[in-house]
């Protein structure tokens, strides 16, 4: 547990941290899909707890006053909310760059037309695979893939810019070239190729997803070549699983430095996976202002800056580059959120965890544990 003296925690301004740049707004955890790598917490929030339209509008006003630039409307599935149009309109009126992150399956052409008119600026559409059958199996939703292809066409038909979000892993990584081709065929501006990040649901399913180092190297080669071939035609953003990286990713640009995340009931989190750290206490926009929370919330201040770090991070010259990696991953894999992210090759636990994962990758993949409400786990990982 945490032995930091909480009364001495420095606030955002004392770290020289300015207002956050963007807000990731999880409008709802409800979603017709059941992706086993979903980044939502294992305890999903029910509809009754969700913030109301007016509460979201007030959050938007506060975000703008603080100087935030962008809002990502996400979930779960943000389009389950019938007031999505109202929220989008409010965001764009206030001048936030407004991005919709969706699985698409609930959208229709009329709704997209309307969202475009209301000023929505960009759509990110998720794809589970390029193979229809496998895509539907991964998402746990029959007919999903076909529908997504149709939705992608509608997005372009109403002249909204499109990013294809593709989460890749051992069960679809052989289709990487097809993912890139699909993005081109759908006239997307951008494609995000992200390897699964292992916390929450994904960690429970790690053995089903983790690729071998060879698969990963091959994927990286394909992406690098495509980036050169398609320069100026398609932007390719690529996230490798940091299990196989030398140093961890600079998670969220550092804990509580650039972004904030809100869950459906209004808890303000330093990142979307922060609820996996059991001792964090979150503040809620129903009780405090967003500005107050950014400055003072204990969940943010606990891991801001570098004062909290133990060795090896403390004495490492990369500590202000990657900020010690991902706190949620450190929690999940070492049992203490303060530890060096074991994705880092300097972590004393790196080789043990790395070889365990690589071993999983060599065995046959187990069955998925699908993302559902009320799933009980007997043995916590």
């Amino acid at each position: 547990m945490d032995d930091i003296n909480k009364t001495k925690l420095k606030k955002a301004s004392e770290h020289g941290i300015q207002a956050p740049l963007a807000l990731l707004a999880e409008l709802s955890h409800r979603c017709p899909l059941q992706c086993p790598y979903c980044s939502n917490p294992v305890q999903l929030e029910k509809k009754t707890g969700e913030l109301t339209t007016d509460e979201w509008k007030s959050v938007v006003d506060q975000a703008v006053e603080m100087g935030m630039h962008q809002i990502h409307l996400s979930g779960g599935e943000p389009t389950v909310r019938h007031d999505l149009e109202d929220i989008v309109e409010h965001c764009t009126e206030k001048g936030l760059y407004t991005n919709l992150i969706t699985s698409g399956v609930l959208l229709n052409l009329d709704r997209l037309k309307k969202l475009e008119k209301l000023g929505l600026e960009h759509v990110q559409l998720s794809f589970q695979d390029t193979d229809t059958e496998n895509a539907d199996r991964i998402g746990g939703f029959k007919g999903g893939h076909e529908k997504k292809l149709e939705v992608a066409k509608w997005v372009r038909e109403v002249d909204l810019p499109l990013t294809c979000n593709c989460v890749v892993h051992r069960q679809n990584i052989d289709n990487l070239e097809n993912f890139i081709q699909m993005a081109l065929d759908l006239d997307a501006e951008r494609v995000e190729i992200a390897q699964v990040q292992y916390y929450g649901w994904a960690l429970k399913n790690r053995a089903a997803f983790i690729p071998t180092p060879e698969q990963l190297d091959h994927a990286t080669e394909i992406v690098e070549k495509a980036r050169i071939d398609l320069k100026g035609k398609l932007v390719i953003d690529y996230v490798i699983p940091d299990y196989y990286a030398k140093h961890p990713k600079n998670c969220m640009g550092g804990w509580g430095r650039r972004f904030l995340n809100m869950n459906p009931k209004g808890d303000v989190l330093p990142c979307h996976a922060a609820e996996t750290i059991p001792h964090l206490k979150f503040d809620n926009v129903r009780e405090k202002s967003l500005k107050w929370i950014w400055e003072n919330s204990e969940a943010f201040n606990l891991y801001r800056g570098t004062d909290w770090m133990p060795d090896p991070c403390k004495s490492c010259d990369r500590k202000e580059i990657d900020w010690g990696g991902c706190r949620c991953q450190a929690m999940a894999l070492t049992g203490d959120a303060k530890n060096t992210d074991p994705a880092c090759s300097i972590s004393p636990l790196h080789s043990e965890i790395f070889s365990m994962a690589a071993e999983e990758a060599r065995r046959a993949p187990p069955e998925f544990i699908y993302r559902r409400y009320g799933v009980r786990f007997n043995s916590p990982i």
């Binding site: 006053e65 600026e121 810019p161 951008r190 100026g232």
Partner: protein, 97 residues
């Protein structure tokens, strides 16, 4: 998206639809916004981009700036081309037409 654009003085630059050049009131600064991207701009870039309206050519933009700042058009034209080329390479500027 189109092929790589080579900025010359006759091109009419514009922002692609998903790219927004905006003033953030709370921060009092101009920025370029795109999905997952945020570009902070120096004052010269802001002057140039304020003239990017999808109608003016690069040459007209340079000549307006040279009048406004009372500086030689040649030098300004080089700066304008350089900056727009850089932004175009990153996908933030395209040609209108």
């Amino acid at each position: 998206m189109t092929d790589i654009l080579k900025i010359n003085e006759n091109i009419i630059p514009k922002f692609p639809k998903h790219v927004k050049f905006r003033f953030n009131k709370a921060r009092k600064e101009w920025v370029i916004l795109a999905p997952e991207r945020l570009v902070k701009l120096d004052p010269i870039a802001v002057e140039i981009l304020q003239l990017v309206d999808g109608e003016k050519t690069v040459k007209i933009i340079a000549s307006e700036l040279s009048k406004k700042f009372n500086a030689p058009e040649e030098t300004i034209l080089t700066d304008v081309k350089e900056m727009l080329q850089d932004l175009s390479d990153k996908g933030f500027i395209q040609e209108n037409g």
